[in-house]
């Protein structure tokens, strides 16, 4: 691990840079803000990546094993206190047993996340120099990017649930600000609110989960909570239930008696579903594409949306002893993987295709975590960060080169204008479809991580883990679709003739396509007949570096993350129960399981090649035919429509009902206004009385008070 001052720098410096760039932009100028933020995050990125390599291949591992050994105790390998280093900065809340510090916790999990976050963020900062070069609000943009980076780092280095929640909502804020970055336009504003509110629905679960943790364990700090579960310690809940061994503890919740760990597991996962855009709570992610593309790469692909996966893995001891909650994670993950892939096939906006792809890949991570292969989930999170950021930045490069065109139907033939971007997108595509030869080391990053998931999931299914087999089947089918939509994207965008003459078809597509059009005048002419141009070097360098990651990250880190050295690498940060052997069993699955991903990947490639390369227009014909399946996919299974008709309209109606009927008609009507008119009515009858509100009211009030007082005295007197 790095020395403390370096760790402090990595986590806190981006926050400081954000403050300077945001608050003092008048003094530091746009360029100053860009230099400060990019320099800080870039340096943090270099340090974090060095730390990751040190930890995986250098002294870090040895140190880890030595420290872990005494803690192993009598229970064998199953109970290992994680190797971690905590720097406490400041007490945050100290209320009875509710103790939360501002802290920086460094263990294998946070080391991996720090490298991903600062690495990708540094590159995205650099890339934005080119992509945002014509935007008038660059200082604000870079301040938000660095703010996001800081919040994400606070999330992954928290040593308690409350700081995690701080980072969790903080990244939500940064995401909200960046999605709505072009604030004068309607679509980004709606998308930003939708993202924040949908995440809040998830946070409803997360917050209740954290409260549950506190009430059950009497602590909101990770280590006391997780070690109690690892050791099946007897815990005494603050309320609700009597002391019991934690794995057997039953607590009442909303009238039901449920196992405490199941309850907490499900509630925390609801939070994860929101942040990681899982089925039911996924609706915000595609809309989030209204934000500038570097934001999509950093926040809505590589880092923030993986926070849910990180959370589930972080509290792996909970899910190890909460089979129902874990089954829910698996099921939702598997459904999302398949669902998002089906929708991804029918989208025409290049960013939305990649957004659904992200959604789908997150589903893979979740079902891997659900069946107990946390290591594989984290591995896929790690490799996915590289190739998904690469795909987004590549798409951004195309959009930039095409003068803010995002509709793939109006692209085509871009390869010859943007050869380097094309190469990067090819690398990203090969990585995401997971091309590689089983039993060898030949393969791109996605091959190693996705196949690890497929194999462990099959093993889990064979071991009888709930939904294991279903997840395996969904995973295989989704892999086929992934290959199809990824190649479809490549063919529609880069191959064939230029199709810039097709007018926009639907207003919806158009509203995304003219992303900066109206106010952020940026010198680009919106002449679609102008030829695309290759992007500048500051945008190509990040593409190059991410390409290296997309090619090699899987091969280099396989052994550490999921291979033979995984136990030393994770050093107790991830936990598998004694009976959870999926990671070892993945070597013993039938031979066809190893080859199945390759088979479906090639099949998807062939179908895409047939329909979009050799028979260009075939896909458009299917779309035009308007078959029910196509319509279902193209309309995202009508989730937005259903949610609008129920939740959005319902909430609004209820608000109006409570206001107009509840407050005005009933409360005021029978209350003050009713009394007024009653008094007025009776005073007209007894016309001798004065008019004017005060006297009437006072009369009624004094009368009531007298009656009340009399009643009290009578009662009390009677009681003696």
């Amino acid at each position: 691990m790095l020395p403390d001052f370096a760790l402090l720098f990595i986590v806190l410096a981006p926050g400081l840079a954000a403050l300077i760039a945001g608050l003092f932009q008048k003094y530091v100028t746009d360029t100053g803000a860009m230099v400060i933020t990019t320099g800080t995050v870039g340096l943090a990125g270099i340090l974090s990546i060095i730390q990751l390599f040190m930890f995986a291949f250098g002294g870090g591992v040895v140190e880890a094993v030595h420290t872990a050994a005494p803690a192993a105790g009598d229970h064998g390998a199953a109970v290992v206190a994680p190797v971690q280093h905590i720097i406490t900065l400041l007490t945050w809340m100290d209320v009875g047993q509710f103790q939360a510090d501002w802290a920086i916790r460094v263990d294998a999990m946070s080391i991996v996340m720090m490298a991903v976050i600062t690495g990708v963020s540094g590159l995205v900062h650099l890339y934005s120099w080119g992509y945002m070069s014509e935007d008038p609000h660059r200082a604000r943009f870079f301040a938000y990017l660095s703010l996001f980076t800081f919040m994400m780092l606070m999330l992954v280095t928290a040593d308690n649930f409350i700081q995690l929640f701080f980072g969790w909502e903080g990244v939500g804020l940064a995401s909200y600000l960046l999605i709505g970055f072009w604030y004068t336009k309607a679509a980004p504003n709606s998308a930003a609110i939708k993202a924040f509110v949908t995440n809040r629905v998830g946070d409803f679960g997360l917050a209740l989960g954290i409260m549950g943790v506190f009430v059950v364990f009497g602590s909101v700090e990770f280590e006391p909570v997780l070690s109690a579960i690892r050791e099946n310690a007897t815990v005494t809940p603050l309320a609700l239930a009597d002391a019991a061994p934690i794995r057997e503890l039953i607590v009442p919740f909303l009238g039901y008696n449920v196992p405490a760990l199941e309850l907490i597991g499900v509630l925390l996962f609801i939070g994860a579903m929101g942040k990681s855009a899982q089925f039911f709570l996924h609706v915000w992610l595609p809309d989030a594409m209204e934000g500038p593309t570097p934001v999509s790469a950093l926040i809505h692909a590589a880092t923030m949306v993986t926070a849910g996966v990180y959370l589930v893995c972080l509290v792996s001891p909970i899910y190890e002893y909460a089979p129902f909650a874990a089954g829910m994670v698996t099921l939702i993950g598997a459904v999302t993987a398949l669902y998002a892939a089906t929708v991804g096939m029918a989208q025409n906006d290049i960013k939305r295709v990649i957004a659904y792809s992200t959604c789908s890949q997150l589903g893979y991570m979740f079902f891997a975590a659900g069946i107990g292969a946390y290591q594989a989930a984290m591995f896929h999170l790690f490799t996915h960060a590289f190739f998904k950021a690469l795909l987004f930045l590549g798409a951004g490069s195309v959009i930039h080169g095409m003068h803010h065109e995002q509709d793939m139907r109006r692209m085509g033939g871009v390869a010859k204008f943007m050869p380097l971007t094309y190469a990067a997108m090819m690398i990203g595509t090969i990585a995401i479809i997971g091309l590689g030869i089983p039993h060898t080391s030949f393969g791109f990053a996605g091959f190693f991580s996705k196949d690890a998931i497929i194999e462990t999931t099959f093993a889990a299914g064979s071991n009888g883990v709930s939904f294991g087999t279903l997840a395996f089947i969904f995973g295989i089918v989704a892999a086929l679709l992934t290959s199809f939509y990824s190649w479809r994207l490549i063919y529609m965008t880069f191959h064939g003739p230029r199709e810039d003459s097709i007018p926009p078809e639907t207003p919806e597509v158009d509203s995304h396509a003219d992303e900066h059009l109206s106010v952020d005048d940026h010198g680009h002419h919106h002449d679609h007949h102008e030829d695309p141009h290759e992007s500048p070097l500051v945008m190509l360098i990040p593409l190059g570096l991410l390409s290296l990651g997309a090619i090699f990250a899987g091969f280099v880190f396989y052994d550490s993350f999921v291979g033979h050295h995984q136990a030393e690498f994770w050093a107790g940060a991830l936990y598998n129960a004694a009976d959870n052997t999926v990671l070892a069993d993945k070597y013993n699955v039938p031979e066809w399981v190893f080859w199945a991903p390759l088979f479906v990947t090639v099949t998807g490639f062939l179908i895409a090649t047939f329909t979009y390369f050799f028979n260009r227009g075939f896909g458009a014909k299917i779309a035009a035919s308007g078959g029910p399946l196509h319509n279902l996919f193209a309309n995202k299974w009508y989730f937005d429509e259903i949610y609008n008709a129920t939740f959005v309209k319902g909430t609004s109606w209820l608000g109006g009902f409570f206001w107009k009927t509840g407050d005005k008609r009933i409360i005021d009507g029978f209350g003050p206004d009713g009394v007024t008119s009653l008094v007025r009515w009776s005073s007209r009858r007894l016309s001798a009385m004065h008019t004017g509100y005060l006297y009437h009211y006072a009369f009624v009030i004094i009368l009531a008070a007298l009656v009340f007082g009399a009643v009290i005295f009578w009662r009390v007197g009677g009681a003696g």
Binding site: F165, G170, L208, F214, L238, G255, I712, R715, A719
Partner: protein
């Protein structure tokens, strides 16, 4: 400090200022100066007195011993018939007094240049109000408390009724009558308690054991008053009207301080003096709190008037206070006190923020705004900060109060916690929608074309609230350390008594 009566000094310094202004202004008459100039002089004098009061309250803060149990800085003089003039503070009252002495000068600064009619009387009303508010929080005698509590109604009634908007008469009467109706029940209860216990000393009454069935009635009588003040569903409808009609400074004090008297009352009287009844009514209080949170949030979403929206938001946020108090847990009660302080800062700031654009455009209609960020970037940033604070973003004080009160409630009723957490979702809906409609988007209303960004006066008023909101969000222990003793004491009386 020796025997210097610091509490009396803090309490009556504003009143002394008010009297002085009144004397000087009537003595000098209208010799030569127009009313406006004289009004400005009064306002400046009022500002000096309220600032001095704030400094005096800081002396109080320094003299306060955090770890000492019970009431401190107690002053006691016999008044009449066993009723005493007795003042004293614990951690909770200390912080509420600080909140009062902070918000009063801020309100007066905010009035500078915006209130033009009868500025002298306006200033006097605020100073008198400040004395009564401070008195409420440090009175150690039930009768003295009642005097302050009721007297405070009058200046606020006048502030709304004289300097308010078009519907101010309706609003001020509604405000006055709701609160008066509530407190008459309380008066009856106080008289009864005095007769039965033979004293109105709060410290004695805290330990006096009223019979359970008597407690029920007394609890209800106090409840009638505090529920209106807080306000709780279904007696909350006076608040939106009062806020909409009140001048900006009136809204700041109303939301920032007056509502807190309800929460303060529950903690100071209901819990310690009627522990059995408090336990008995816990389910009702939970139900009303959760209804307030969810109901008011939903209603807030549909408002077309900025001030009304924030008023309903206040109802929702005060729901967390009662939720925390009636959880009878340390986390909940500490959270509730914190929520009162935090809401004082945040709602005060939000009303100032509305006032800033109202002063410039003279409408509170949300639809009249839009695109402010293009003309007022600093304003937009400040508004964003308090929007986030109001939705309870961690790192702001808004989060701490919400999470702690809900955690406390979770221990007593998972239903209550889940219901309150639902309200947290809706708060994001109405606040972000408000922000979007007023600040984001293009400028469409021509009246906004030449609008200017926040000025020096605006920054002076809002900066202390920005600092407070963030500071307490990051180190809330500043509050918890001070309020720990009072929270534990209230809890001990309810669980151990």
């Amino acid at each position: 400090m020796g025997n210097f009566p610091i509490l009396t000094a803090v309490t009556f310094l504003p009143l002394a200022g008010a009297l002085l202004i009144m004397l000087v202004q009537s003595a000098t008459g209208s010799n030569g100066q127009d009313e406006e100039t004289r009004g400005r002089q009064s306002l400046m004098a009022g500002l000096i007195f309220s600032a001095a009061t704030f400094l005096a309250s800081l002396v109080m803060l320094v003299s306060f011993e955090v770890d000492a149990p019970g009431y401190q800085l107690v002053e006691e003089v016999s008044w009449f018939a066993g009723i005493q003039y007795k003042l004293g503070i614990d951690g909770m009252s200390l912080l509420l007094i600080l909140l009062t002495t902070l918000l009063t000068p801020i309100s007066l600064v905010a009035s500078y240049g915006t209130v033009k009619q009868r500025l002298t009387e306006y200033t006097i009303a605020f100073l008198v109000l400040e004395t009564f508010m401070i008195g409420v929080f440090c009175a150690m005698d039930l009768v003295l408390f009642y005097v302050f509590f009721e007297a405070g109604l009058i200046p606020m009634f006048i502030i709304i009724g004289v300097w308010g908007g078009a519907e101010r008469i309706y609003a001020s009467f509604k405000f006055f009558l709701y609160t008066l109706l509530g407190s008459l029940f309380m008066l009856a209860a106080i008289v009864f308690m005095y007769m039965q216990a033979g004293t109105s000393d709060i410290t004695v009454l805290e330990t006096y054991a009223f019979a359970p069935e008597v407690q029920t009635w007394l609890w209800l009588a106090f409840f009638a008053s505090f529920a209106v003040k807080l306000p709780m569903f279904p007696v909350h409808t006076w608040l939106p009207d009062a806020h909409v009609q009140a001048p900006t400074a009136g809204s700041v004090i109303l939301a920032g301080v007056l509502l807190k008297m309800g929460g303060y009352g529950f903690l100071r009287f209901s819990l310690p003096m009627f522990p059995d009844a408090s336990q008995f009514f816990q389910p009702m209080m939970f139900a009303l709190s959760v209804i307030a949170i969810v109901y008011a949030s939903l209603v807030a979403f549909r408002q077309t008037d900025m001030k009304k929206l924030i008023a309903y938001s206040s109802v929702a946020h005060m729901g967390f206070v009662t939720l925390g108090i009636f959880s009878f847990t340390e986390v909940g009660v500490q959270g509730a006190i914190f929520q009162m302080i935090s809401h004082g800062l945040i709602s005060g700031a939000l009303f100032l923020i509305v006032g800033m654009v109202y002063d410039r455009v003279h409408t509170r209609e949300i639809a009249a705004y839009g695109g402010l960020v293009n003309k007022m970037p600093i304003y937009a940033a400040i508004f964003m900060l308090f929007t986030m604070a109001n939705v309870g973003l961690p790192g702001t004080s808004g989060f701490v109060g919400e999470i702690l009160t809900m955690t406390g409630a979770f221990q007593a009723s998972t239903w209550a916690a889940a219901g309150a957490a639902l309200g947290v979702i809706f708060s994001a809906v109405y606040m972000l929608t408000l922000y979007r409609r007023t600040v984001f988007g293009p400028v469409t209303n021509p009246a906004l074309e030449n609008i200017t960004d926040v000025g020096k006066k605006d920054l002076i008023t809002i900066t202390p609230l920005i600092i407070g909101t963030i500071l307490l969000g990051i180190t809330p222990n500043l509050v918890f350390d001070i309020t720990r003793e009072s929270s534990l004491r209230a809890l001990q009386m309810i669980t151990g008594g």
